[in-house]
């Protein structure tokens, strides 16, 4: 959507003031309310649906397949956005961001390995049904919820197949399946906008329009984790450098608010 010059200048001057005045009165670290449900897609190992108040919606289904470990990456995220072509940069960059985040998570990979030769490959299929602001945060919330609900069939054959060639055998009983997240928590990617010297969590479309840039920060196991990087927000008029001090503020903000976001979506 295009904004008028006076709208943008109103927004920008509100957001750079100290403390920032967001157009919906949110505090800098306040996430917009979302509702979610899990385990609703049949024939998946885990699934989630996350819906925001503005009508943005994202669904994620996780399926697995046993592959030889030599066959490359064990985590295959894919992102579809309604109304976007497959070769559009946005879904591809989102899928890339997810791949990066999930692969940087050794706990997850450890759970997928079955034997010396075989492992599960995780297909993380995401569909963004509609969105008004940058879909990265919402997508990551949905993946987080889906991974939390993912269960893998129980292996009944031997874990060690270095000497004998053996195809993995699984328990037929789905109730015996093991949850993938046992003592760890999957990564959550939080999007932050930098406007002037202020950092804003979960920026809206309009807020990103007047932002210098956006950052994504990963939250995992109650701590900030890699990757932390800039996100291309495209059109903004104020795109440019920012004070490095803002990075520290972003760190502090995530540290103080991420736990709240996690508890909000899990409840």
């Amino acid at each position: 959507m295009k904004f008028s010059v006076s709208e943008l200048s109103y927004l920008r001057s509100s957001l750079i003031s100290s403390p920032p005045l967001r157009p919906d009165c949110r505090k800098p670290g306040q996430f917009r309310p979302v509702e979610s449900e899990v385990d609703w897609l049949p024939f998946t190992n885990g699934s989630a649906r996350v819906r925001a108040a503005d009508g943005s919606e994202c669904i994620v289904g996780i399926k697995t397949k046993v592959v030889a470990r030599s066959e490359g990456s064990l985590i295959e995220p894919s992102v579809d956005i309604t109304g976007y072509k497959d070769n559009d940069p946005l879904p591809n960059s989102l899928a890339e961001a997810l791949r990066h985040t999930l692969n940087a998570c050794p706990e997850l990979t450890a759970q997928l390995i079955l034997t010396e030769k075989y492992a599960f490959r995780l297909y993380v299929d995401c569909v963004v049904l509609s969105f008004t602001s940058h879909p990265l945060s919402l997508l990551s919330l949905a993946v987080f919820r889906a991974l939390k609900s993912t269960r893998l069939p129980q292996l009944i054959s031997s874990r060690d197949d270095t000497l004998v060639d053996e195809i993995p055998q699984f328990n037929d009983d789905w109730d015996a399946a093991q949850p993938i997240c046992t003592k760890w928590s999957p990564p959550l990617v939080l999007l932050l906008a930098i406007v002037g010297d202020n950092v804003l969590l979960d920026p809206t479309d309009a807020e990103l329009e007047v932002a210098e840039t956006a950052l994504c920060i990963t939250w995992k196991n109650n701590a900030i984790a890699a990757p932390i990087k800039n996100v291309d927000i495209g059109s903004g008029k104020n795109v440019g450098g920012y004070n490095p001090k803002v990075l520290l503020d972003a760190y502090d903000l995530v540290q103080s608010c991420a736990a709240q976001v996690v508890s909000m979506i899990v409840s």
Partner: protein
């Protein structure tokens, strides 16, 4: 004939009484004496509803007014719109209808007085008056045969909007009233476009909208102001006013969440109810939204 007529009427009367609400594909009547209006379709001489909504009857004409859907322009409506295209002596304006409305160069006030011929110079600098993305309020002047609307801003009440925040709600939730411009508590002014586009801004003494009676007197002032009405810069707006504007925006969203039609009295009441929450960010919570709207509706 007359006896069967009254029978048939009672048939439809029954439907009207039964629920007043029909769903797409629901039979309205199988009698052919009724004329089929908007929101209906016929198959084998049976009239069905094409939309979810309420049946309306004017003599022998049956139509269904949809509950939700795009805004349908009506002559005289005060709407808020956004320029989408600058074209040949006209602007295209998004007003949330099924088609963009047209604003002719001849239907706007240009610097230098109202009654001035539009020259080629004016045509060349159309983007200096209104460009893509600009918001304006206008009145619907005429409707074309295909349902598209033509707008005009030939009053100081209408024109480019600044000093505020844009909020969009479903058009069906905006109630039609005598006036669509309100002055609210806290030095705020709201333009409640019938198309569901709402502009909340800081009220200023020079806003012509505040005093529609002065329109004729303002003519001289307007001529001296020239480009003033097409200015892009905002006036200085204090943080407290910005907060109030945002709080009103959240109150509007609370009404929308509860599917309550928006008018001045309700908005004022919801605002009063919302003051309990000193942090207006709490108004985003769905239970809070329901609470304050319930409280507000109880006071009306």
């Amino acid at each position: 004939m007359s006896s069967s007529d009254s029978e048939n009427e009672s048939d439809v009367e029954m439907i009207l009484e039964k629920a007043g609400l029909v769903t797409p594909g629901e039979m309205i009547t199988d009698d052919t004496i009724w004329m089929r209006g908007h929101g209906t379709y016929a198959a084998d001489n049976v009239t069905y509803s094409a939309v979810a909504g309420t049946i309306e009857r004017v003599n022998k004409l049956l139509s269904v007014r949809p509950l939700r859907g795009r805004y349908i322009p009506v002559i005289g409506d005060h709407v808020v719109g956004r320029i989408t295209e600058v074209g040949n002596r006209r602007w295209k304006v998004d007003i949330g209808a099924s088609q963009d409305a047209v604003l002719m160069l001849g239907s706007v006030n240009l610097p230098g007085g109202i009654l001035r011929r539009k020259s080629d110079d004016d045509e060349l600098q159309m983007r200096e008056f209104l460009k893509e993305g600009d918001l304006l309020n206008a009145e619907i002047q005429t409707l074309y045969a295909d349902g598209a609307a033509a707008l005009h801003t030939r009053s100081l009440r209408y024109g480019k909007l600044r000093n505020g925040l844009f909020v969009q709600v479903p058009a069906s939730l905006v109630l039609r009233l005598r006036t669509q411009v309100y002055r609210l508590e806290g030095g705020i002014e709201m333009i409640l476009g019938i198309n569901g586009y709402i502009w909340i801004r800081k009220a200023t003494s020079t806003n012509a909208n505040a005093a529609p009676m002065d329109v004729s007197i303002n003519r001289l002032e307007q001529e001296s102001n020239s480009m003033e009405i097409y200015k892009d810069e905002n006036d200085p707006i204090p943080p407290s006013t910005r907060q109030t504007i945002s709080r009103y925006a959240n109150c509007i969203q609370a009404l929308v969440y509860n599917e309550v039609g928006i008018n001045e009295a309700r908005l004022r009441a919801v605002y009063e109810a919302s003051v309990v929450y000193t942090d207006a960010g709490e108004l985003l919570d769905n239970t809070v939204k329901t609470d304050i709207v319930k409280q507000a509706m109880a006071t009306l």
